[in-house]
Subunit: 333 residues, 2 copies
């Protein structure tokens, strides 16, 4: 016989313990005080029947799911992994779970995924959204509460945490200039990435105050392979140093340079951005700007939590990346 088993509900427990549903609910939630003897009976019924309350029903009646969604362009990017980890662990401490959606760098998918995910969650974490401004504003308006990571947003519309890429890249440029590089090639990231735009802006600013500093721009991308493939073009620019969009690009570049027997940093110095775990272990070890990945996630959660609790939005926070000089830039060339 095929026992089409309906999950056991609070009614079953009530019947089994010979009390009302209300009482079962009470002992399970520890709200009102209940007669110890009865409470014990209920608890026993619960274990005997292996009863576990339906989270869905609880969500419906309580008006919240205790779940938040996080939308990322690419789960393979160590930056987003770190942020996800930070959000996930912080949220767990407050009894929240995280739903994650990978949009595969597709701006259109980003919009629908956000809207759809928001329907089943209490809030949204938008990570480095690639959407055009119009859609971005629309999604934010429809998804409150929202916290945005790594993209500027009108203070009132949503909470935000981010990285000061402009200042970071200026510091990096300054470091390179300091050790004698007057011509660097910038390996640009995805066009839709606003953090790439911030880096470019930072570079322009630096250039404005340092006319002797020359920057050649190359459209590259964000992955190991993108960096690997950019090596020849980077060399062809004649620059003495390369500034990569992020560490992945830098690592890919390094590996190709090695194949080509191009000495780093002597012929070409290389710097990345993010300080991913492998950066320190690369050969030569990678000079980069450190970004607090998990902390970014933790801060994102803190802001989301405030909004969820109806507290006033906390101030946006912008982390200053920290310069980490390693061997890939070396000394004065």
């Amino acid at each position: 016989m095929i026992a089409e088993r309906r999950a056991t509900t609070i009614v079953d427990v009530a019947l089994h313990a010979r009390v009302s549903q209300a009482t079962v609910s009470r002992v399970l939630n520890g709200k009102t005080t209940v007669d110890p003897a009865i409470a014990a009976r209920v608890r026993q019924a619960v274990t005997e029947l292996r009863y576990r309350p339906s989270a869905t029903a609880q969500s419906l009646v309580r008006g919240r799911t205790s779940t938040v969604a996080m939308i990322v362009p690419d789960l393979e990017n160590p930056l987003f992994q770190g942020i996800l980890r930070g959000v996930s662990r912080s949220a767990a401490r407050d009894g929240y779970r995280v739903l994650v959606a990978d949009t595969a760098e597709d701006a259109a998918e980003e919009r629908s995924a956000s809207l759809e995910a928001r329907r089943r969650c209490d809030a949204l974490v938008l990570c480095a959204p690639r959407m055009p401004d119009r859609e971005f504003a629309e999604v934010i308006a429809a998804s409150h509460p929202v916290v945005v990571v790594n993209r500027a947003v009108p203070e009132s519309a949503a909470a935000s945490v981010g990285v000061d890429y402009a200042s970071g890249i200026r510091e990096l440029a300054s470091h390179l200039l300091g050790i004698g590089h007057t011509h660097v090639v910038y390996l640009a990231g995805p066009p839709a990435s606003t953090s790439n735009a911030q880096r470019l802006a930072g570079l322009r600013e630096f250039r404005a105050t340092h006319p002797e500093f020359r920057i050649t721009e190359l459209a590259v991308g964000s992955t190991l392979d993108d960096g690997y493939r950019a090596a020849e073009d980077a060399l062809a620019t004649g620059a003495s140093a390369a500034l990569a969009f992020n560490d992945m690009v830098a690592l890919g570049l390094l590996s190709r340079l090695r194949e080509l027997d191009v000495p780093v940093p002597d012929r070409l110095a290389v710097a990345g951005f993010d300080d991913v775990p492998t950066a320190r272990f690369a050969t030569p070890s990678l000079t980069t700007m450190s970004v607090p990945r998990q902390e970014l996630g933790a801060q994102a959660w803190q802001r989301l939590k405030a909004l969820l609790d109806g507290d006033p939005a906390e101030h946006a926070v912008l982390f200053r990346p920290r310069l980490v000089v390693r061997d890939s830039t070396g000394r004065r060339p």
Copy 2:
């Protein structure tokens, strides 16, 4: 005035369109056919009121949440990232979302997270669970449908996908022996990892048929740092080759060897496991066993989907890792 806005419900839409809730529900779900004029009125009301159905209410009445949970020991591990990505993308195609929980390599946390996550989802993906057998069985029994990744499980209890680590490491050992290494040191992974146990078993088997092959075992771990710190001990064993638990360990080891000016592969050959994205880009490039990370996730989803649809469980699948010879093992020493 503080407008405590209740979200707009189907009732609001019905009122606005001067029809019943039933009709609204019908046009939204396209179930029964509805008078075109009325349908249009409803749709207009929907957009005007910006109505979006409550996923929670739908879940309650439909009896499913269209969400599955995935439990992983560590989100920073590239293997789990790849699997997550595979599950996430495959599930998305079938209209499912993925809830992710990082247990920080804590077996106790693993149990509670699984049970708790299962309450709000339709199914569970257990990734390389570290729990002791007893708890493992218990969690599985309480969480059906479940698919387990990278840990053996009684065929009837849950679906499973995995990697044939034993055969993989034998192939790797064979490669090393083939190029002349008769003494290798195995840098072991987390004691609670069953895939580590599988590797050890494979090594023992290989040893049984190749008495001239000597294996020294070292307790190391699973991270870059673990590998980095194991370098001196590995050298002290006098082995001519190191077999790392995974690529992270191997990469950490490589970087430390470089600092120590130990030539690889001449003084010590190094091999990893998993073929993570950075393995190819390491210096020297890393010999390793390739594991289809995303495919593992896709297969896991396929099995879960079958179970969710009430179809008979598909057969367990075990992927054979593929040997990828690169420079870190080199030629005959």
